[in-house]
Amino acid sequence: MSTFVLLLITGLGLGALYFLIASGLSLIYGLMGVLNFAHGSFLTLAAFAGFEVGRRVGISTWTGLFLSLLVGAVVGAVFAALTELLLIRPLYKRHIEQVLVTVGLSLATVALFEGIWGPDPIFMQASGWMRQTTDILGAPIPNDRFVSIAAALLVLGGLVLFLNKTRYGLIIRAGVENRAMVTALGIDVRKAFTLVFTIGGVAAGIGGVLASHYFGYVSPLLGGSLLIFAFIVTVIGGMGSLAGAAIASVLVAVLQQFANFYLGVGDLIVVLLLAVVLLVRPQGLLGKAAA
């Protein structure tokens, strides 16, 4: 029983990280039709920024944690917004070039991060509450899992409110369905593009800091390795669907944990799940069918 609980909650913690990345990916793709390969770089830079803050303020203190999350979110947001404004926007309506530029950016930034922080993982010398465990039904759960889950739920709740209660949320929901018609109503949809990038950057930034706690290290490859699974989550959930991303994040991560523990083939199971979804329901769990 305690193993089950441990695997489940660890899976939920990992799912939370996937969601923090996949939510932005899915919104960006849904609205703009751009697969953003640079998304992992937003996460990695935020993780390093959070790490630098933690190193100075005290990585094991509450202040250090909150400050690093805040800085991570801001760094993710600024990086993402600049990416959209400087690289994506000039290539408006040229989707292939837009995707290629994000691929280029992700490669270049990994090299840049290696130049600054070195190619090897830097393990975090954290102690304190985040490193301790809490017993749930006899299972010792690392506390950072709870923080990740709470952060993902907050981001999910915030996004739902934003999408349903604000004018920009309305524009984004409409744009995911029919971007051309939004412009034909006299709305400059490019502002919404910058906005979804920025929002995606905030979520990825928070995810980056939390990922460094989850794995216990920061590395230039941190974002890239998570991005692969976040892409899979996005496809399984349905491109452009926030709820789909949330459900698929949990599904993929929990399945991965259990398959890893009992069979040792977590990643393989995820790829198989992807294949099954693509065969049976190519638009993903909650995606709209291609017209």
Binding site: L170, R173, N178, A180, M181, A184, L185, G186, I187, V189
Partner: protein
């Protein structure tokens, strides 16, 4: 009287294919100008070219200002409302959200729109995707009429609708045309007879005839030649299944 909209040598391409060859015509500042032509001749593409939804070259002047290099949202903001073929409502949004999204001015014309289409007020919270075709057309028209516009461009608003709804849509357009000029693509000759003051006939991506509506509509041979239908058929689509 000088024209409100002037289209000169418009060419439009989409997906690397030229879909409007060379279209020139004018839309005066009052009444209904109908664009006619068989299926696939480029009527919808002409509207999309004017709006910049398709890549285009040529000169488009609206109220004295060139708009052929402006992005779509600016053109619409300058006062050209667009009701697309096949309605293109946002199916996942409610009726109210569709209209709220479209409303750009400080005082949107909710009362006017709800007086014109009372059903939309009753169905405000209903998802547009669950509406009938006729109701979706009302949403699409209401999205345009909720703002004060200087020109309406409406593309086949009666396509695929039951005769009773066709009349309602015709009624709404007649009402709207008293306060705003309309550029109307339409294949239903009955609707054209009722609404149109002038006609522009397009064939193979070019304008082949322009003139007063009555003159063409009273000349069955000309209709037969230009549109490929006899006047006995009320709807050109019936002649071209």
């Amino acid at each position: 009287m000088s024209a409100l909209l002037t289209v000169k040598n418009l060419r439009a391409t989409v997906a690397g294919q030229q879909v409007v060859e060379d279209v020139s015509f004018e839309v005066p500042a009052t009444g209904v100008t109908a664009v006619l032509g068989r299926n696939g001749v480029g009527k919808s593409s002409t509207l999309k070219g004017i709006l910049g939804l398709y890549d285009r070259t040529g000169e488009v002047t609206f109220d004295g200002a060139r708009i052929d290099r402006e992005p779509t949202h600016r053109i619409v903001q300058s006062g050209i409302a667009y009701v697309p073929e096949d309605r293109e409502v946002f199916t996942m949004l409610t009726v109210e959200e569709n209209l709220t999204l479209a409303a750009r001015q400080a005082q949107p014309r909710w009362d006017f729109v709800h007086a014109l289409f009372p059903e939309l007020a009753q169905r405000a919270k209903q998802r547009a995707g669950t509406l009938s075709g006729g109701q979706q057309q009302m949403v699409s028209l209401a999205r345009a009429l909720i703002n004060d516009n200087r020109l309406l461009m409406v593309d086949e608003p009666t396509k695929g609708l039951a005769p009773k709804i066709v009349n309602e849509v015709g009624e709404a357009l007649a009402e709207a045309s008293t306060s705003v000029p309309i550029l109307l693509v339409e294949q239903n000759l009955k609707v054209i007879k009722r609404l149109a003051d002038r006609v522009v006939v397009i064939d193979a991506g070019r304008v082949v005839h322009t003139g007063p509506a009555g003159e063409l509509l009273d000349d069955p041979d000309r209709i037969q030649r230009l549109l490929g239908v006899s006047t006995e058929a009320h709807d050109t689509r019936e002649a071209h299944p």
